[in-house]
Amino acid sequence: MSSLRIEGACKYFGGLKAVDGINMTVPAGRITGLIGPNGAGKSTVVNMISGVYSLTKGEVYLDDQQLTRLHVDEVARRGIARTFQNIRLLPEESVLDNVVIGYFRKQHSGVMSSLMGLPAALAETRRLREQAWELLGRFGIQAYADYEAGSLPYGHQRRVEIARSIAAEPLVVMLDEPVAGMNEVESAEMAEIFEDLARSGMGLLLIEHNVTFVSRLCNQVYVLDSGRMIAEGPPDAVTRDPKVIEAYIGGKADAA
């Protein structure tokens, strides 16, 4: 059972303290919430953990391994996956192929075997396509498998991206506003998938605006405001916290 931790993490952009000395733990088999008003620094946290941004101060650990100074691809290969707040699919690729690329980390056949078109490499591609097909089924988007990913409606693109991020069965996945732009029914479908993933032992970091959605799914919620962690704990306690209420009402009133 692995857990992801950040300790005393800071990210400054010039004078702007986007993230300022926060601690957070994302344990395996749980859905951990990270909420906060727009511009609080939530996406910055994801980018710090995944190696897109270097930390100004602080450390990132996966159990006792340090991830702090690893490159993006190395962090991913350690089993930390993510989605992007502004969906990033491969626009020319089919929906199915967008998911197939997600298995990269789990591939066994080497470069030479690929260049020579050896049976092992071809068989692996066939197998991954079948697995990706199954995964599309789980996300209810098999019917779109052959469509260009860029041509799908927004909500479906999110599903493709989430499917891609969990394809290689990461230890931890960080979902940056995964149900933004989805309706109630669609969000509920996603919630079910997230709970399944947690039951299978994956650690999820769920970043959301929608406090109700987070409260329903998480045991532990962190609240970020202007780069500082203003509250943490079980959702019902956190949502009653005066500092949290003030941050939401005082900031943009986009909390549902």
Binding site: A76, F84, E92, G102, V111, L115, A121, A145, D146, A168
Partner: protein, 299 residues
């Protein structure tokens, strides 16, 4: 058929060389490396083979092998600074590389023959060998397209930060694409030198650079059909334009503009995409989809 072959043999042979160099150019572009270094690699390959064969009496297969190694080594070294650049800057850097190669060919006159180049190269290439080389190249790229490396190259072209976020060591794969481009470019340069009797630096200058780029722009930068279609147009066009004599260049330009405007993906790619869309209309079952994949979608 045979009489067609005999009357058009040189045309066919140059077509095959153009296809090979087109693949070298295409491989870089399809992996998101804006390289125009193919002309430089083919110069290195051509000179390595020509020098080894004419000066040292090296056996032809060995000479080609050395050209291949030179192409890979130089492209690997070049891939390191190139990985720090993007888009137009990569194009400029690779353009500079081609200019440097040509300057060196002119400078080391004792070794390279300077502006006069190297003559008396045995003509051991023929349609059969060139075809074999093209087929091997096609097989390798076809294999790439159907496996992991092809998926990574496509991802690099479309969004390399996505590739990185999925664990792809992107610098290594950029280098791989560039080294394969260098390998193919150098080998087809070597084959060309074993066909044309003599080579000189101008053969690999601006004109050669534009030629291999045009093959990909006309044909397409993603599918296997691309360079074939592009080289075919480039080979047929001068024949059709024969009555126009000195206005041939204008016709080339007009066709290029028309293709870029109306078929921005290139003739070959557009054809493959069109076929794929037709296949997609068939009922969607897993098995149907797999069939479609094997035929065209694997490009």
């Amino acid at each position: 058929m045979m009489s067609f072959y005999y009357s058009y043999q040189p045309l066919i042979d140059f077509f095959l060389i153009a296809v090979g160099l087109g693949y070298s150019q295409q491989l870089a572009l399809r992996a998101g490396v804006f390289s125009i270094a193919t002309a430089g690699f083919s110069a290195l390959g051509a000179y390595a083979t020509a020098i080894l064969v004419t000066r040292y009496g090296a056996p032809v297969p060995l000479a080609i092998l050395v050209s291949a190694v030179v192409g890979m080594a130089v492209s690997y070294v070049l891939s390191v600074p190139l990985a720090r650049l993007r888009g137009a800057f990569q194009a400029i850097a690779t353009l500079a590389f081609v200019q440097v190669v040509i300057a060196l060919l002119l400078y080391f006159e004792g070794f390279t023959g300077g502006a006069i180049g190297i003559s008396g190269i045995p003509r051991v290439m023929n349609t059969g060998w060139l075809l074999l080389a093209v087929l091997v190249t096609i097989y390798v790229i076809w294999s790439i397209n159907r496996t992991s490396v092809g998926r990574v190259f496509n991802a690099l072209r479309q969004d390399d930060s996505v590739a990185a976020s999925l664990g792809v060591p992107i610098k290594s794969y950029y280098a791989l694409a560039f080294v394969l481009s260098g390998l193919i470019g150098a080998v087809f340069g070597a084959l060309r030198s074993l066909y044309v009797f003599n080579i000189e630096p101008v053969d690999f200058g601006f004109h050669a650079m534009v030629a291999s780029l045009t093959v990909v722009v006309l044909g397409g930068r993603n599918t296997l059909l691309g360079p074939i279609a592009g080289a075919l147009i480039m080979a047929i066009l001068p024949e059709l334009a024969r009555p126009l004599a000195e206005n041939r260049g204008i016709l080339n330009g007009v066709i290029l503009i028309l293709v870029i405007t109306f078929l921005p993906n290139g003739v070959g790619d557009e054809l493959v995409y069109w076929l794929r869309r037709r296949l997609r209309r068939t009922p969607k079952t897993m098995s149907k989809r797999e069939e479609g994949t094997d035929v065209v979608a694997a490009d």
